[in-house]
């Protein structure tokens, strides 16, 4: 939050601002998994002195940024199969150990993209439900349910303007009740058994969000509406 100037709060966040907002909530020393796609941008906003260690589910802790051109190692890739680097203190492990690390609740924070998130924290991010699509899931389900805290980072609306924070997901689920916070360009929400609560807005209001999403949204903890 401190990384954002107040101007940012008066308009929707850019992708970089959204990544900075997510990063601001991650405690120093945390172990973090960043899902492929948009969440990878969060890495650029983690302070190098923070001691945050990145996990990549294909078998590594201590993942560093993309290599310099010419320094690509085909044996060193991230979950998106893009080349990465190794930071001091890194370790490698096989797939069963890597997913044990996820599933066993050892990762502090997992940041995922989403097609839809429900107000109760259900996540849909692996299938568009298109009947002719080749299905693929990868580590999405393990990531969603395994981390101590799973948060979503997404645009609040689809390209067609449909809400992605919904009463009930209509797309195939990735996990049930697994998401606790949703970071979007227009607002940050807490979701869970008590429904969705607005934590912070960017260039919009609580009332406008309710109209946009056709949802009843609770106030942020400690605030009245």
């Amino acid at each position: 939050m401190s990384a954002l100037d107040t101007a940012a709060r008066r308009s929707p966040l850019t992708r970089a601002q959204l990544a900075a907002r997510v990063a601001a909530d991650i405690d120093p020393g945390s172990y973090v998994n960043l899902g492929i796609g948009l969440p990878t941008l969060v890495a650029d906003h983690l302070a190098t002195a923070s001691g945050i260690m990145l996990h990549t589910e294909n078998g590594m802790l201590g993942m560093g940024p993309s290599p310099e051109p010419g320094a690509v190692d085909p044996d060193l890739v991230n979950a998106g199969k893009a080349p990465v680097t190794e930071l001091p203190g890194a370790s490698y492990f096989h797939q069963a150990d890597s997913f044990a690390m996820m599933r066993g609740g050892h990762i502090d924070v997992c940041v995922l993209g989403a097609f839809q998130v429900s107000v109760s924290g259900d996540l849909a991010n692996w299938s568009t439900g298109a009947p002719d699509a080749v299905p693929a899931v990868g580590g999405a389900m393990d990531l969603a349910t395994g981390a101590r805290r799973t948060v979503v980072m997404m645009s609040l609306l689809t390209k067609d303007g449909a809400p992605k924070l919904v009463e009930r997901c209509t797309l195939p689920l990735t996990g049930v009740g697994c998401v606790s916070r949703v970071y979007t360009d227009l607002a940050v929400f807490d979701v869970g058994p008590d429904g969705a609560h607005v934590v912070e807005t960017f260039g919009t209001t609580h009332r406008e969000l309710e109209a946009l999403l056709d949802l009843t949204l609770g106030p942020a903890p400690g605030r009245t509406r």
Partner: protein
């Protein structure tokens, strides 16, 4: 398993693979894929294969060609759809290949279970999703969990970095991925390595796959591997990437 055999070619190392065999193929995309052993499998000729592998081939790599040539009856994998998985896509859409889609962590754990003599296990992953439909489930310590069964194989093909004279293996970086658990899960495990070193040259504390899991080794100094894109992000694949296209 009895003592590891050192073969002079990938085809010799592969040995006999029966039609209809279940074959595990290591690798996470190109990293750790035993490309030459899969080429040998192409040459060897077995068909009707059940292939257990995280992905279903990239571009014209050997696994993709195995699918293209109609040698695979079924794929068991977590992420068959990639930007360059056209051979699998075509075979899947035409009905030529069956797909069992398994969440990646459950795939890994099911492979480990086979090697560890565990028949089945309860995991929270996938509960309440389409991939758990029809599967037994129960609530354990307040968490809903799905019963998943071990996946055994007739043959495992893996790529490691080095082997010593008794078949102990070490890997390189994230190319380790599925190698160790697949080597343990198959009745016969074959490893292609960059280098064979003398017995005693590997640190016993740092052996990743003990030789007991390795039936045959072939040293292939010139390991070809599909090029990895050199810019992070361009090879980002799949559902989540697609899902974020609409952002801002």
């Amino acid at each position: 398993m009895s003592a590891t055999v050192f073969a002079s070619s990938a085809l010799d190392a592969l040995g006999d693979v029966a039609d209809g065999a279940t074959v595990m193929i290591g690798g996470f995309g190109p990293a750790g894929q035993p490309a030459e052993l899969v080429v040998a499998l192409l040459e060897q000729g077995a068909s009707g294969l059940v292939v257990v592998s995280n992905n279903a081939g990239n571009g014209e790599d050997p696994l993709a060609r195995l699918i293209q040539h109609g040698r695979v009856a079924k794929m068991v994998c977590s992420f068959p759809r990639q930007v360059d998985s056209w051979h699998f896509d075509a075979a899947y859409r035409s009905g030529a290949v069956e797909l069992e889609l398994v969440p990646q962590g459950s795939l890994a754990e099911r492979i480990r279970a086979a090697g560890a003599g565990i028949g089945a296990f309860f995991t929270p992953t996938g509960f309440g999703t389409p991939l758990a439909e029809g599967k037994e489930h129960r609530r354990i310590e307040g968490v809903d969990q799905v019963l998943e069964y071990a996946i055994h194989a007739d043959v495992a093909l893996v790529r490691a970095d080095r082997a010593d004279g008794v078949g102990n293996l070490v890997y390189r970086k994230t190319a380790r991925n599925f190698g160790p658990i697949m080597a343990a899960a198959a009745r016969r495990s074959v490893a292609q390595v960059r280098d064979v070193v003398p017995v005693g040259a590997l640190d016993p504390e740092a052996v990743v796959t003990p030789g007991i899991y390795v039936d045959a080794v072939v040293e292939l100094t010139e390991v070809t591997s599909t090029e990895v894109t050199s810019t992070a992000g361009t090879s980002t694949v799949g559902a989540v990437a697609a899902g974020t296209e609409g952002l801002v």
